[in-house]
């Protein structure tokens, strides 16, 4: 089986238009990140010590100087620096110390932003979480009084998730937000996987190899498993390639630091129901996206098993993706359950992980992302079985 999977992978990698498409998408993705997220492209420029710097580049130096544990010393130093900058701006004092920016006013504004961020981090448990847990206590008491077991369980889960959270370090963690919410590379991976899957069976029929393969011992179950495994590996490879390149490119463009800080240290993720590091969160996000991509690839594989022409399979797959994206936006009310079998929900799962979203499963609150993962996986398995049945359906070789 291992050798058969290797042969199937080789077939996937040898499809010329996929190769061309991969190269094209890599460049488009690279350009997209560089154009929209690179700090060096920001318009305001300064010349500091004969070096051309953007505002973000100078900010990076400033952030780096104060990175690490938030201490009273650092806060006091920043406050002092802020006051001095204010005096210079007001014309009360001359420039006596080294500034980050040529203008003392810019230095003052950026110092204030830095101080506010440090304050937000330092007071995270005392303000954000404390408030949340207090509200939760009320909800818990209310639920207990009304004997509402489900709400009580939700409150208990909130307590379990958000208790004992605190932040004591300052890093450039907010610069990870564009990476975590970036979706263009997911779209690239989705298209590539669809292209590869659409060719799986239709391609064999187009070049007349289907009859030969089917007339061998491994031509039914074995080849199907090999093709499905090959497709999964292709999805993994493509996801890994794009997501790692995103990570590196965003790293170069945004210069974030504090990869091992908790995910809730990011402002946009302060209520994320996960207590993992940013790195683990990103890996988890990539894994969930991979499941979504593979489920979409299964749809494409089903069409490939059903049709003799790969362009028809591809067209049907793209229409299905469009349909899933559209339904993802408009499935509310009684159709909201459809969201949990929609593979696109997993690809855009960062929304589900930013806040506390749960579903009522037999009276128990279960995280929406888990419900969606199970739903999409079940959908993928059903599609796989149908695709298998369709692929071995005995039809005339020339019909």
């Amino acid at each position: 089986m291992k050798r058969l999977v290797v042969f199937e992978l080789k077939k996937n990698h040898n499809i010329r238009f996929i190769k061309v498409f991969i190269i094209a998408l890599v460049f488009v993705n690279l350009f997209n990140i560089y154009k929209n997220y690179d700090l060096l492209l920001k318009p305001t420029e300064y010349i500091i010590n004969s070096e051309v710097c953007t505002i973000d580049k100078v900010k990076y130096r400033m952030d780096t100087d104060y990175s690490g544990a938030i201490t009273a010393e650092k806060v006091n130093a920043l406050k002092t620096h802020y006051n001095r900058c204010q005096s210079i701006t007001d014309g009360k004092t001359d420039i006596q110390e080294k500034l980050y920016f040529p203008l003392a006013y810019t230095d003052m504004v950026q110092t204030e932003i830095l101080l506010n961020e440090m304050e937000r981090l330092y007071k995270y448990d005392a303000q954000s979480i404390e408030k949340l847990l207090q509200n939760n206590e009320m909800l818990k008491a209310e639920a207990q009084g009304a004997e509402n077991e489900y709400n009580y369980r939700i409150a208990a889960l909130i307590e379990k998730v958000y208790s004992n959270r605190s932040l004591s370090n300052f890093y450039r963690v907010n610069e990870y937000e564009p990476l975590l919410t970036y979706q263009f590379s997911s779209l690239c991976v989705l298209l590539l996987s669809c292209f590869a899957a659409a060719y799986l069976f239709s391609g064999e029929k187009e070049n007349g190899m289907n009859s030969l393969i089917r007339a061998t011992e491994g031509g039914n179950v074995k080849i199907f498993i090999a093709k499905a495994t090959g497709l999964f590996i292709f999805c993994v490879e493509t996801c890994a390639f794009f997501f790692i390149s995103d990570f590196v490119l965003f790293g170069l463009c945004r210069k974030p630091t504090g990869l091992f800080e908790p995910i809730y240290s990011l402002k946009a993720f302060e209520y994320a129901p996960l207590n993992t590091s940013i790195l683990l969160f990103y890996l988890l996000l990539c894994f969930i996206k991979l499941l979504g991509v593979f489920a979409v690839a299964n749809i494409s594989m089903f069409f490939s098993a059903a049709f003799r022409k790969s362009y028809i399979s591809l067209l049907c797959s793209l229409l299905s993706i469009g349909g899933f994206m559209y339904s993802g936006l408009y499935t509310d009310g009684m159709f909201s359950v459809l969201k949990h079998v929609n593979p696109i929900s997993l690809i855009t799962s960062v929304n589900l992980l930013q806040r506390f979203y749960v579903e009522n499963i037999f009276g128990h609150p279960v995280f929406s992302v888990i419900v969606t993962m199970i739903g999409v996986l079940s959908f993928g398995v059903v599609l796989c079985i149908i695709a298998y049945k369709v692929s071995i359906w005995r039809r005339p070789a020339n019909a």
């Binding site: 187009e206 007349g208 030969l212 491994g218 031509g219 005995r394 039809r395 070789a397």
Partner: protein, 288 residues
């Protein structure tokens, strides 16, 4: 042993195969029929790619569609127009098929032997995309032989080949026929004329003849005639009789006529060929 029993196949209102009964022993079977006679459909049913409307294909008494049937592991099949994989080398392609066939053990040695046998050993590491039509057919033949199958089925193996490659392939087929059942479906009579032990003629889904070439030829002895004529007479004879061949030399036309009775006083009886047999049955079945 392979046996086709009362096999029929319909596509909607069209009957493609009608009550076909054939029993295959060891040897080469030439399945002759014009385009659209139902050869490919019959092949597809034999290799279990297609379901018959009625009847069955049995291997050692078990239906080939039965899960217990071992037919698929004893089969080597070359479909009509396999596209192969242009980026695979000949060796890789044979390795791929051997994995599909579930061949374990010394298959590398067998692949080398087969590449030598089909005279492709020198090109073993070349991409299939660079192969000529004849080389492709030989790779196709080599893959059918992987795992030493008992039954080999070839659908139009010589289609699109030049005369030399056709002869080369024909000779290879003769060599592999020992102790095996080889079924060659074709519409080109010379492809099987000299190598087939048995000829099955299929017209419009019906088996018109099933016997050895000698028997088939002897059956139409006294029904093939040669007539010499000028152009005006030749035109008239073509409209009047079933002419299998016309040869002209110095304004004199030599017509080969198939007829149960002596068509003209001047007609001379000639020894029939398998092509005459094919045309005889073809005319009988109303083929144009």
């Amino acid at each position: 042993m392979l046996e086709i029993k009362n096999l029929s196949k319909r596509y909607g209102d069209t009957e493609v195969l009608h009550n076909v009964n054939i029993r295959f022993d060891k040897g080469i079977y030439g399945l002759l029929g014009p385009n659209g006679a139902g050869k490919t459909t019959l092949m597809s049913i034999i290799v279990n790619l297609l379901k018959p409307t009625s009847g069955d294909v049995l291997y050692d008494g078990v239906s080939v569609s039965d899960r217990k049937c071992k037919f698929i592991s004893k089969l080597g099949f070359l479909p009509q127009y396999p596209g192969y994989y242009k980026n695979y080398t000949a060796t890789e392609f044979l390795e791929y098929v051997s994995v599909l066939k579930g061949i374990k053990g010394a298959n590398k040695q067998q692949i080398t032997e087969l590449l030598n046998f089909v005279n492709l050993y020198e090109s073993r590491d070349k991409k299939i995309g660079t192969f000529s039509g004849g080389m492709l057919r030989r790779v196709g033949l080599a893959q059918t032989l992987l795992g030493n199958p008992e039954v080999i089925i070839l659908d139009e193996p010589t289609a699109g080949l030049d005369p030399i490659e056709r002869i080369r392939l024909r000779n290879l087929l003769s060599e592999i026929a020992n102790d095996r059942t080889v079924i060659v479906a074709t519409h080109i009579v010379p492809d099987v004329e000299y190598i087939a032990n048995y000829i099955i003629m299929l017209f419009k889904g019906n088996v018109a003849a099933n016997a050895s070439p000698d028997v088939l030829i002897s059956e139409i002895a006294g029904k093939v005639w040669s007539v010499k004529a000028d152009i005006r007479e030749a035109e008239a004879y073509i409209k009047r009789f079933k002419v299998s061949n016309i040869f002209s030399e110095k304004s004199i036309y030599d017509l080969r006529i198939i007829s149960d009775n002596k068509p003209l006083e001047s007609a001379e009886e000639v020894f029939p060929t398998l092509e005459d047999v094919f045309l005889y049955y073809s005319f009988m079945r109303g083929e144009k």
